[in-house]
């Protein structure tokens, strides 16, 4: 099914900017289910605006009433510095537990994915992370890592899977400190998620999946262990590349025999990029699919039909993949899922 009124082959940069700016301000009530993940939504919007070059023109801040410093302050207001034992420091996804996240309440703990989102967003906004409690965040990672090497996302327990292994790796990599994690155990866990058809599942024994494959491969790359692992598992890299390219119909599917979805252009495209094999995709056909999911009023949806309006996640990941090949877009770093140039600048300042 197609909504011919919203199908555009022209890249609607201004509409996209308007879409993300509006999201940064207010989201409609159906987003109540994302209340605990607001930091991730901010990350999607800010990274997307950076891809679009929004931050290159200072006039934009006035035109669209966006203030970088205010966003930075709001993010820092969500930092949890509690130092009670067995709690996770970092950032909480929103103020849903109350205005003072640092009140020592046991349930006010850092959430690994929100900490990842906060750090990436701060860097892209030009912050130097001086106010981030790096030491606490790194040392509290040990309360999150499990004996099998996986991670939960919060000190008092959660499901454990490759998503949080990835968040932990990205945080360690960005902060330049792996002292809070057992790398060997992480390696073991990632390897235990290998599937019989050559990719990675979210938890051991489960079905191969584009999202978990990205999380695992990006984690290995961030750890600097990719080459070693491929040396150890003869033939795995070839099987993995084959699995990834097999996901392309026109757009990318997340699993064999599932529907195409724009976000997998990033999950699979970035995985292939890490493996230096992104060129193997039929980029023209994929671009056609992604652009077909562009909304006339800004943003991208997961598929092109009347039931799926654009949403922040699919909008960001569509742009993230497009940023790999469109010259007018600022690229996303394929390992970190954030602005490449801003991370480089941050890295240079640290050194």
């Amino acid at each position: 099914m197609s909504t011919s009124s919203s199908f555009e082959t022209v890249f609607k940069r201004v509409s996209h900017i308007q879409y993300f700016v509006q999201c940064l301000k207010k989201l409609p009530s159906k987003h109540a289910a994302l209340d605990t993940n607001r930091l991730t939504l901010v990350h999607f919007a800010v990274q997307s605006l950076d891809i679009l070059g929004f931050f290159d023109s200072p006039e934009n801040f006035k035109t669209y009433s966006i203030n970088k410093e205010e966003i930075i302050e709001w993010i820092y207001s969500l930092q949890v510095t509690s130092s009670a034992t067995r709690t996770s420091a970092g950032f909480i996804g929103g103020s849903f537990l109350g205005p003072d996240v640092d009140d020592g309440n046991y349930c006010n703990q850092g959430h690994l994915a929100m900490t990842y989102s906060a750090i990436c967003t701060l860097i892209t906004l030009g912050d130097d992370l001086k106010r981030v409690n790096r030491k606490e965040i790194i040392s509290s990672l040990k309360y999150l890592q499990q004996s099998d090497g996986s991670f939960q996302c919060v000190g008092y327990g959660s499901e454990c899977d490759l998503r949080f292994v990835y968040c932990a790796c990205a945080i360690c990599y960005i902060l330049g400190d792996w002292s809070g994690v057992d790398k060997d155990a992480m390696l073991q866990y990632i390897q235990s998620c290998r599937t019989y058809d050559g990719a990675l599942s979210l938890v051991p024994n489960q079905e191969s999946h584009g999202g978990s494959t990205y999380c695992g491969i990006a984690s290995l790359a961030l750890m600097g262990e990719l080459d070693q692992v491929f040396l150890h598992f003869d033939g795995w890299k070839e099987d993995l590349v084959r699995w990834c390219v097999s996901r392309q119909m026109e757009g990318m599917q997340g699993r064999p025999n599932k529907l195409e979805d724009t976000c997998y252009s990033y999950w699979i495209g970035a995985t292939l990029k890490i493996l230096d094999c992104e060129y193997l995709l039929d980029r023209d056909v994929l671009r056609c699919f992604v652009m077909g999911c562009q909304s006339g009023t800004g943003g991208f949806s997961k598929v092109r039909d009347e039931y799926h309006p654009p949403d922040l996640l699919h909008s960001f990941y569509s742009l993230a993949w497009l940023s790999f090949s469109r010259k007018e877009l600022h690229p996303i770093d394929c390992m970190l899922g954030m602005s490449s140039r801003h991370f480089d600048a941050f890295r240079r300042n640290v050194v």
Binding site: R38, Y106, E250
Partner: protein, 352 residues
Amino acid sequence: MIPSETFHDITPISQDDGPHPVCSIDYPKEFDEAQGYLRAIMRKDERSERALELTALCLRFNPANYTTWWFRRQCLASLSISPSNFESKFTFFGLKFIAKDLMLAAKLGGTNPKNYQVWYHRRNLLEQSFSDIKSASGTDEVGNALELVNEEIEYIATVIAEDAKNYHAWSHRQWILKAINMESKWNAEIEFINGLLEDDVRNNSAWNQRWFVTHRGSKSIPFAIDDARQELSFSICKAEQDPYNESPWKYFVAVIKEQFRLIGTTPEFASLIGVSEKALEETKANFEQESKKDGMECTNLIAAHIDILEIKGDKTSIASAIEFAKLLESRYDPVRKKYWKLRAQQLEVVTK
């Protein structure tokens, strides 16, 4: 929604987003109100019946709030009476609470739950009981636990009936099967999988589950050769129903590769791979006869053939593999032509 008498002593805490909130959500008024009371109750750490009721109310608005679920479990644990001398790494919940909350999670999850929190809640409720099965056979606890197991397996089946590829449902199902590790359940699962493959032979989740079950959830115990033959037979039979279908071919090749790593230099393996290649070629021939189409169109069949030829490794096989790869590149699998070009190049290196 909140009777004012119940919380007359509680001053709700409003959500203060600071002077410049970002990505503000336009909460429904009732949600905001209920959350206000919950914030106060959680700050007090009051683990009571009324707190329990309040969490249920708030979860109706946002069933993905992991902190609300966590606090609810604190309340349930506080209100439960654990047996004397109770020692476990898992939390104890009273049986009636388990039953009630499984129902609540089912209700809040909807017919096709794709929210991590409801599934994690179910697991939390059940893990203590399931650990009873291994440790305390013949007791009342085990009887109760087995009933819970059966009901949970049934529940997951209803979700899978709604969406046969619900990733969370399958993860949860795998967790139960491995946790209880009962031969009767493993065997029953094969029947369940077969039923799903009858409905949809392309259901990759079902194929993955078959690999999981036939390996008894273990990554370190490969198939014995007879089991491998059986699995090859099964997968090729299914592949014949739709030779375009990727799932059975990947399964087929994975079985062969597993045996190759184990017994690759033996005559048994040579026989196994020979038989497999023949069966694949027969499938292609049958397809061509019935459909009057070119079997090369079944790119997943051809890709599996290339894998087999590469494993065989002799000069003739590699030459055939290269030929197939070049055909896929030039004509039959255009979206992946760059990949097949690379594949052919890699195979040419093998020849040298």
